[in-house]
């Protein structure tokens, strides 16, 4: 394969599939429909549009179309996707950590079990920060404050039950307090939360690493820790693990195919997505957006999902956001 170009490989794959229609050969789609289960502008939408430009720019497919179906943490989008894309070898849905939580919290009738995992693509580490004026200087200081009185430590971040809330609850639990009692102040959109954190109104801020980088550089905020494993390259600040509290969590995003795909169709989708994820254009886009490349192929992704679902459900149950 290394001697022929990508374009030839796709043409060859598609040609073979069309001529032979043999189930064992991957059927790579030539036209893709990407569903972003969120409004234009958000992380899922940006992922879909970045995929669109790389897929067509690298000529991996002839066309790629993005549609947005917003609402309820993506649970409306997934319901629509399952209805409209059964057996469709050219349909992909963007999803991620937030949808895992939203499905549990909203008791959504359609879950990620109904769709076909294709690949995990990107991820963002979470970070804990404090205002420059805060008396809290280290992870240990914060852990001690949380342990002393969990309700006195207020956390500022995004929507209730989202990745920020879960990070806060996990931190409190690991610090030896009841994670379910964490005093989490939910904000809609990054702007309001940032104002609360910058003005030292909340004890600690939680969010994606890239949201805070600029403010740490201008010395308005200080890193406490990042939820990456110790030794991860290219982090702008220390990890939580280095600070003495082993909390690892990533706000990941990936793509799913419709229900009822044959093995060949699944392999075809996987092939196109893998080529995209390994391209230089994709790497450049990730670098520009501050996203980590966390590519996992279908089977590994499916196993990861199972674990992630159990972990998120445990935290949300403890927060009282998911009831039996």
């Amino acid at each position: 394969m290394s001697t022929i170009t990508r374009r030839e490989a796709v043409a060859l794959g598609a040609g073979l599939a069309a001529v032979l229609a043999h189930p064992a050969i991957a059927q790579a789609p030539t036209e893709l429909k990407l569903l972003a289960p969120a409004a234009p502008g958000g992380g899922w939408d940006q992922t879909a549009r970045t995929m669109q430009s790389v897929l067509t720019g690298e000529r991996l497919v002839r066309s790629a179309q993005v549609t947005n179906v917003a609402g309820a943490g993506g649970t409306i989008g997934i319901a629509q996707f399952v209805n409209s894309s059964r057996g469709d070898p050219g349909a992909l849905m963007i999803s991620g950590f937030v949808m895992v939580g939203a499905i549990l919290m909203n008791k959504a009738p359609v879950t990620l079990d109904a769709v076909t995992p294709v690949a995990r693509l990107t991820g963002e580490w979470q970070a804990l920060v404090v205002s420059a004026a805060s008396p809290i200087k280290s992870v240990a200081d914060l852990a001690a404050a949380v342990k002393a009185d969990v309700s006195r430590v207020s956390w500022g971040g995004g929507s209730a039950g989202g990745v920020d809330h879960i990070t806060a609850a996990m931190f409190a639990g690991l610090a030896g307090a009841d994670g379910g009692k964490v005093n989490y102040i939910a904000h809609s959109g990054g702007g309001e939360a940032m104002a609360a954190i910058l003005s030292n109104r909340v004890t600690v801020g939680v969010g994606g690493v890239s949201e805070f980088e600029q403010h740490v550089k201008s010395r308005r905020l200080r890193w406490l820790g990042i939820t990456a494993p110790e030794g991860t390259a290219g982090l702008p600040g220390p990890t939580l693990t280095a600070g003495g509290l082993k909390l690892e969590l990533q706000n990941w995003r990936g793509v799913f195919g419709g229900p009822g795909l044959s093995d060949a169709q699944k392999a075809g989708l996987g092939e196109v997505v893998e080529k995209m994820a390994k391209s230089k254009a994709w790497a450049d886009q990730l670098a520009a957006k501050g996203w980590q490349d966390t590519y996992l192929a279908a089977d590994a992704f499916a196993a990861f999902l199972k674990e992630e679902n159990a972990r998120v459900e445990g935290v949300l149950r403890n927060l009282g956001l998911v009831r039996a």
Binding site: G41, Q52, G71, S159, I185, G191, E192, A196, R201, Q214
Partner: protein, 501 residues
Amino acid sequence: METLSLLLNGLSIAIQPANLLFALVGVVLGTAVGVLPGIGPAMTVALLLPVTFKMDPAGSLIMFAGIYYGGMYGGSTTSILLNTPGESASIVTAMEGNKMARAGRGGPALATAAIGSFVAGTIATALLAIFAPWLAEVAIAFGPEDYFALMVVAFITVSATFGSSRLRGLTSLAIGLTLGIVGIDKLTGQPRLSFGVPDLLDGLEVTTVAVAMFAVGEAMAVAAQRGKEGEGTVEAIRGSLWMTAEDWRRSWKPWLRGTAFGFPIGALPAGGAEIPTFLSYAAEKRLATNPEEFGHGAIEGVAGPEAANNASAAGTLVPLLTLGIPTSATAAIMLAGFQQYNLQPGPLLFVTSADVVWGLIASLFIANVMLIVLNLPLVGLWVRLLSIPRPWLYGGILVFATVGVLAAKASLVELGVVLALGLMAYGMRRFDYPIAPVVVGMILGPMAETQLRRALQISNGDASVLVTSPISATLLAVAVLALLGPMLWARLGWSMKADED
């Protein structure tokens, strides 16, 4: 002086032919999507983002800003002519503007909106250039308790404009507050009044409710009245198409006052464009020499809120450029646009990319001029819409409204909501309940609730935080004065008009 030279440098970037072209494309697109229902400036910028990836950063940011300003203009046109506000910030404009249009004064209404937007946009952009870094510091000092106090001021001043009967006004307000509760509670993540319908979990869209209450309800009311005596046709033009000297005299103060409300509140991270339009409307009504004209097409009620709306758009750029904090949907997408070019808005942006920032600010001035040049000649064309026979006009409005709602959110539930609320609005009109408080309650209620609960959550339930912050204490004092003042003055036998101006 340094600011001035930087701005001049920015102007030299903005008037490069290519950038002028981008500004023009932006304002034309923005006006178009503002006029079309369902496609707001936020969505337009989002759709254009991947297209502009390979373009020069200054050019595409200038275009985005043009779309933003243009959208604000375009939205007022449909509000005034068709009573279908395309975005929440032009809801107030619809209240007086549409009354004016139906009285044959659509021309002056559109003109005062356009010129008011120009005046407000220009002043606010100047303020942005001079005060942005300083204002950003003040704005983040605004805490939840201060926002709550601001909402209280808005509630109290706006409730004075609730029409003839207070009880009916409060009933309408309660309906609005209830509609505002629908969806997932922002602070705890629990669903409220969503009855297990997933489409309702994100709450009701303000524009959906506004379109249903204003446009659909009114179309039904008009249809029900047909054939009865005394129902004349709508006259497209009565009197002058342009603003008369009298119109100018009545408009210029509201323009300035609207700017004074819009810019600072727009600069607050949780300020938004709706509150300043409400406050401006309430202020104009209170200061008017002829308050009885309000509700029947007072030009001040168009001039003030439209200016406030546009000034707040410039205000939004303060936290975006200086702190990297997006405070509106469009600003959030513009932030993504900056990041696409590896420009990180924030305190360092003015230092690291001064060219881009000042080019952007300068092009806002240019966009403003282009908008007024583009819009004023169109006024005559727009008002002709009203000479369409009524059954066709209202039929068209219904189509326009439903298509708009479906374009914004393609779901049958949304359509059902429009029809159900439209029917309710018809009932309310029939029994003389005012419509505006429903929309006011729906916008302000959830904001006030969230901020109050946030304030109490941070203070661990200590309610004294509401009065110990100097900002909230001042605002609450204003609210008390607004509530009790008129009663006291009346008791003391003072005429309210005596000591004004």
